[in-house]
Symmetry: C2
Subunit: 193 residues, 2 copies
C-alpha cells in the first residue's frame, strides 16, 4: 500500500498506530518491527521511538486506543448482564483471532521485559480493574452483591480464569465459558446454609 506522508503531530500519532495494527495483522507479532511501522506511517523511526520505547508498548497502545471505549461497562442495573457484556468484548478483542495470538505474544514478552509488563499494567490491566471494581461497588450498593464480598479481589477472580485459558491451558475462550465463570463466581463453591 502507499506510504502516507503526514505532518501534524496528532495525525502522525494516529498514522503510526494504524500502521502498527495493519502490519501486526499482516506479519504477526514476532516479525513486527518499529522500522517497518515507521516506514508504513511515513515517519522516521526516531519519531516512533520517542513515544513508544518498544514494539510491545506500541502494539498495546494501538489496539487499546482504537478499541478502549468498547471495554467500558454499562450500568443497566443488571450486574451479571453488564459484566458479561464487558467480558465478551474483552475476550472478542484480545482472546481470539485476529488479535488474540498477538496479545498473547505481548504477554509472553512481558515475562522477560519489565518495560512491556509495566505498560501492560499501566495502560490496560489496572485501568480495567478499576472500572470493574467501580461497577461492582455500584452493584453492591444496589443489593446485587453479597455485602461482605472482597471487592478488591473481584476483578482478579473474574479475569484470572480468562488469562488461564489464554496463556496456560489453551482451551477456547467461548462466550459460554464466560457464562459459566460468572454463574460459578456468583453462586459460590460452599454449601448453602
Amino acid at each position: 500500500m502507499a506510504v502516507r506522508r503526514v505532518t501534524r503531530p496528532a495525525d502522525r500519532t494516529e498514522a503510526i498506530m494504524r500502521a502498527a495494527l495493519e502490519l501486526a495483522g499482516e506479519v504477526g507479532y514476532a516479525r513486527l518491527s518499529i522500522e517497518a511501522v515507521a516506514a508504513r506511517a511515513g515517519v522516521g523511526k526516531h519519531t516512533v521511538y520517542r513515544r513508544w520505547p518498544s514494539k510491545g508498548v506500541l502494539f498495546l497502545d494501538s489496539i487499546l486506543t482504537v478499541n478502549e471505549p468498547r471495554l467500558d461497562y454499562r450500568d443497566t442495573g443488571d450486574i451479571v448482564a453488564d459484566l458479561r457484556e464487558q467480558m465478551v468484548a474483552v475476550v472478542d478483542l484480545v482472546g481470539r483471532p485476529p488479535w488474540g495470538p498477538l496479545y498473547r505474544a505481548v504477554l509472553g514478552e512481558a515475562q522477560h521485559s519489565p518495560e512491556v509488563a509495566a505498560a501492560l499494567n499501566e495502560r490496560f490491566v489496572r485501568a480495567q480493574a478499576e472500572k470493574t471494581t467501580a461497577r461492582l461497588r455500584a452493584a453492591r450498593d444496589q443489593g446485587q452483591l453479597s455485602p461482605g464480598f472482597d471487592l478488591d479481589l473481584a476483578s482478579e477472580l473474574l479475569v484470572g480464569p480468562l488469562y488461564f485459558r489464554l496463556l496456560i491451558s489453551e482451551e477456547p475462550l467461548t462466550h459460554n465459558y464466560i457464562d459459566r465463570v460468572l454463574e460459578a463466581l456468583f453462586a459460590g463453591m460452599g454449601p448453602k446454609a
Copy 2:
C-alpha cells in the same frame, strides 16, 4: 563443582535433572543451555536431547520430578484446609523465588513454543487439575460443597487468580492472598437469599 561420570540410565536421568536445577539456579533460565547441563551431568548433549527436546521441557520435568509429591492433596476431611495446603505448596514452589522467576520464564516461552506449552499442560497443569477435581468431588460427596457447583470449572477458578498475579499484575503471591481467594470462592459474589 566436579563433573560427575554416571553410566546407569536411571542414574543418568537423575544426574541430568539435578544438573539442570543446579545450573538454572546459578545462571537463570535465559542463560540455561542443554550443552551446559550435559557437561555438568557428565553426559553427551544428545543423551539429553533424546529425552528432553528443549530446555523448557527439561526444566519443567526436573522441578516437578523432585517436588511433585508435595503437590498432592491430603484428605483430612476439611476441604478448605486441604485446598489451602496444596495451593500454598504450589505457590511456594513455582510462585516465588528461587523457582518462581524461572517458572515464569518457562511460561513466557510457552507463549511462542507449542512444544513447551504442550509439556506444561501434559506434565503439570492437567495432572494438577485432575487431582483438584478429584479432591473436590470427594468434598462434594461429604456435603462440603454446593451440590450444583460446576466442578469442571473449579480448578480454573482456583488457579486463575494465582497465574494472574504471577504473569500479569506481578502482585505478590502471599499465603494471605490464597486465604482471600478461597474465602471469596466459597462464599460467592451473589447476594445471599
